[in-house]
């Protein structure tokens, strides 16, 4: 839906407005910004302090014991891997399908992907009893182990996500370098100058950018699909009740889209309000995102029905014990609230146009995102509480897992660190691809390359 090419006069005016709006996040620095940074850094620091304690005293400071050896950390890890998958959906799949409304959102999705997958990697290190032995994973890893595949695919996905973020950013960096106002701090201008790689905006360069992006978008398809499928194999390749299922791969991928789409909606809304980008993240975008969210929720619901109803029909001994704790036992409140408030109710509500308006949709997304986190917890922990052999002669606190305050602190760290990455990205670089947006609005490339008067 490209608009007609505009006259140079009109174009210049429009470009000025676009640049002004989209650099507001970079320029803006008020009390609220400081406060926000303060909150993030403070909580992240508290979490790091908790990690220090854990390194000093060992994993005994967590609630994990002989039976439940994967607790909140791994649940949180799976959550972050899930959220990161949205980059694959929005910045690649939808772009390859030439779904143009998703263009302005793709950088938002990519920010989330980078932050989430980076944190996923960090969380794994934080779950290690001996993080100093981290390199052994690469030096002595077994190629036949899903854990090695996971490490491989997480690092690969992170690299691709960074490239997919950076390459379309280059022309924007040049634009800022050339047209940036005096209100942008000097050091940022310096960064733009270096990172823009001497961009001139000639045809050859645009072609190279388009080509690289296409290659990356195609590459990220198998890698993105792998990242969450392999994560699901960490569970599905074992014999435990609740994990021993064949649909775990697609089940995880579907769940990932739900979590990621909700995260994108929330971030879009934050930018829309905070940086007054209502003209860019329009009602229309929320409407489409709402529809996308309904769609992925329905797919996820379908997998959920398969995942729980089929074994529940049989209620095999061990599986039955596991399912009963979820349906009516100690995990029932968490299980049902995640399914109802995080999946079924949102689907029903989002069918109505009103609930796809920015604010209602954002509120719904918050619920969906929280439920996604709980869902990962329900996948990881209850299974471990039900081993096949009877649990005998162990202290009571071995039998049930509950996270300790250290674990909660470190988990909060991960959220704060992810938000910090997103904030820094938003403060450093425009949250929407300016040149693409301008092109969409019919502004000629020549004008983009013009230096500021």
């Amino acid at each position: 839906m490209m608009e007609k090419t505009k006259s140079p006069e009109e174009s210049r005016k429009l470009l000025d407005k676009i640049t002004f709006d989209l650099t507001r996040s970079i320029v803006k620095r008020d009390e609220l910004t400081h406060f926000w940074y303060f909150i993030l850094v403070m909580f992240a620091a508290v979490g790091l302090w908790g990690w220090g304690i854990q390194i000093r005293d060992g994993l005994g400071v967590t609630g994990m014991r002989d039976y439940v050896s994967w607790g909140m950390y791994i649940a949180n890890f799976v959550f972050f891997v899930a959220v990161s998958l949205i980059g694959f959906l929005i910045s690649s799949s939808l772009q390859l399908l030439k779904i143009s409304w998703s263009k302005p959102i793709s950088r938002v999705a990519e920010q989330i992907a980078i932050a989430a997958v980076a944190l996923a990697g960090i969380i794994i290190v934080m779950d290690m009893g001996r993080p100093d032995r981290f390199l052994n994973v690469f030096l002595h890893g077994r190629f036949a182990s899903p854990i090695i595949w996971d490490v491989t695919v997480v690092t690969t996905y992170l690299t691709i996500s960074v490239l997919l973020y950076y390459i379309p950013l280059i022309p924007d960096l040049a634009l800022l370098r050339d047209r940036g106002g005096d209100d942008i701090p000097k050091w940022k201008m310096q960064v733009y100058k270096i990172l823009s790689l001497g961009w001139k905006g000639n045809d050859k360069q645009y072609k190279l950018v388009a080509h690289s992006m296409r290659v990356l978008m195609i590459l990220i398809l198998p890698v993105g699909l792998s990242i969450h499928t392999v994560t699901s194999w960490l569970f599905a390749a074992t014999l435990r009740s609740g994990w021993d299922t064949t649909i775990f791969g697609p089940y995880f991928v579907a769940g990932a889209f739900v979590a990621g789409a909700a995260a994108v909606v929330i971030l879009m809304y934050a930018y829309r309000v905070r940086y007054r980008l209502g003209d860019y993240f329009e009602e229309l975008h929320f409407d489409y995102m709402g529809k996308l969210l309904v769609f992925v929720c329905l797919v996820y619901l379908y997998f959920n029905i398969n995942e729980f109803w089929v074994p529940a029909y049989k209620m095999k001994t061990a599986e039955g014990i596991h399912l009963r704790t979820l349906f009516t036992g100690s995990y029932a409140p968490m299980f049902w609230s995640a399914q109802m408030l995080g999946l079924i109710l949102p689907i029903l509500l989002m069918l109505f146009p009103f609930f796809r308006k920015p604010l209602p949709l954002t509120i719904i997304s918050v619920f969906v995102l929280i439920a996604s986190w709980l869902k990962r917890y329900i996948i990881v922990v209850p299974t471990l509480e039900h081993p096949f052999l009877p649990v005998q002669n162990v202290p009571d606190y071995f039998k049930h897992y509950s996270p300790t305050s250290i674990e909660i602190m470190i988990t909060i760290f991960s959220f704060m660190a992810a938000l910090l990455i997103i904030t820094v990205l938003a403060k450093m670089f425009p949250v929407i691809t300016i040149w693409e947006y301008a092109e969409e609005k019919g502004i000629d490339k020549e004008i983009l390359a013009e230096p500021k008067k």
Binding site: A144, W149, T159, W199, K204, P222
Partner: protein
């Protein structure tokens, strides 16, 4: 020396004294035993005892339990017999410290049968299971490797202190394994006190097929078990070292070729492409310098 012993003894006693009393909830104490106190139940209880409890509590009346702290009391001891039936049941069910719980491993009926068995030794009840005093006996045994039979001859000392053939008595044949004796069969002696036991084809020995057989007269006789060292009557033990095979989850030395190749191909494919894109970035930079 004596002082040392004394210290040890006092310490030991002190520790005994410290063993806390095992309290059973009031409402559990006087639960009635639903299984009847009769010979059948006591016998079943004895079998269960031999299987599940003897390893720690030892033989009834011999005070030969494991030296644990606190020690597992002998079934005939005052300490054991001071329990009500309900208390016994509760303690067997829930366990404490070194005493395992049997709630998940023995059925409720079986646990009550064990209570019946313990009650057999109570001063207040009539003993149903009366064991005769053990007799002295002698066992001779040899193995015929070619025909794969064990030949046994048994005698016992009768009332007149003369050794006579032990007729119609079960003899247990076992094979010595790493963690104890595996019973493999039983034969009855004939009137001359002789028995022949055919070793099953399926018996598995060590890597060479050697088996150490143990011939045992069972309870009621005082004799040494006859141990027949390493006779070649078993199948050689298969020793698969699973990790040495090409299985899906093996070590790097034995990884399946297709798996390694798929992994490497995927990694090279992805990182090769990433390398290509990074190269494009250089090209973008270079294209900026051209006019």
């Amino acid at each position: 020396m004596k002082i040392k012993l004394l210290v040890v003894a006092i310490l030991f006693l002190a520790q005994q004294g410290m063993a806390q009393e095992w309290l059973v909830p009031e409402d559990q104490k006087n639960i009635e035993n639903p299984s009847e106190y009769n010979l059948a139940n006591v016998k079943k209880g004895k079998d269960l005892y031999l299987l599940n409890c003897k390893s720690c509590h030892g033989d009834a009346g011999k005070n030969n339990g494991l030296p644990l702290v606190p020690p597992p009391p002998d079934v005939t001891s005052d300490q054991m017999q001071a329990n009500t039936e309900g208390e016994l049941f509760y303690k067997i069910t829930h366990g404490r410290g070194g005493m395992p719980q049997f709630e998940t491993t023995l059925s409720e009926d079986d646990r009550w049968r064990l209570v019946n068995y313990i009650r057999n030794y109570s001063p207040d009840t009539e003993a149903l299971l009366v064991e005769e005093p053990p007799k002295k006996a002698k066992v001779l045994a040899s193995v015929n490797e070619a025909e794969r039979v064990v030949e046994v001859f048994a005698e016992y000392q009768n009332k007149d202190s003369v050794y006579v053939a032990l007729a119609e008595t079960p003899i247990t044949i076992g094979a010595q394994k790493a963690f104890g004796i595996l019973p493999i069969g039983e034969v009855l002696t004939n009137n001359e006190g002789r028995a022949e036991y055919a070793i099953p084809e399926t018996l598995i020995g060590d890597e060479q097929g050697m088996v150490t057989l143990v011939i045992d007269l069972g309870e009621g006789f005082i004799t040494e078990d006859v141990v027949l060292d390493a006779s070649k009557v078993g199948q050689p033990k298969p020793t698969p070292v699973l990790i040495k095979e090409e299985v899906l989850w093996s070590t790097n030395d034995n990884i399946q070729t297709w798996l390694l190749l798929s992994y490497l191909a995927a990694v090279l494919g992805a990182w090769g492409t990433i390398g290509y894109v990074v190269f494009q970035i250089f090209k973008i930079s270079r294209a900026g310098k051209e006019e």
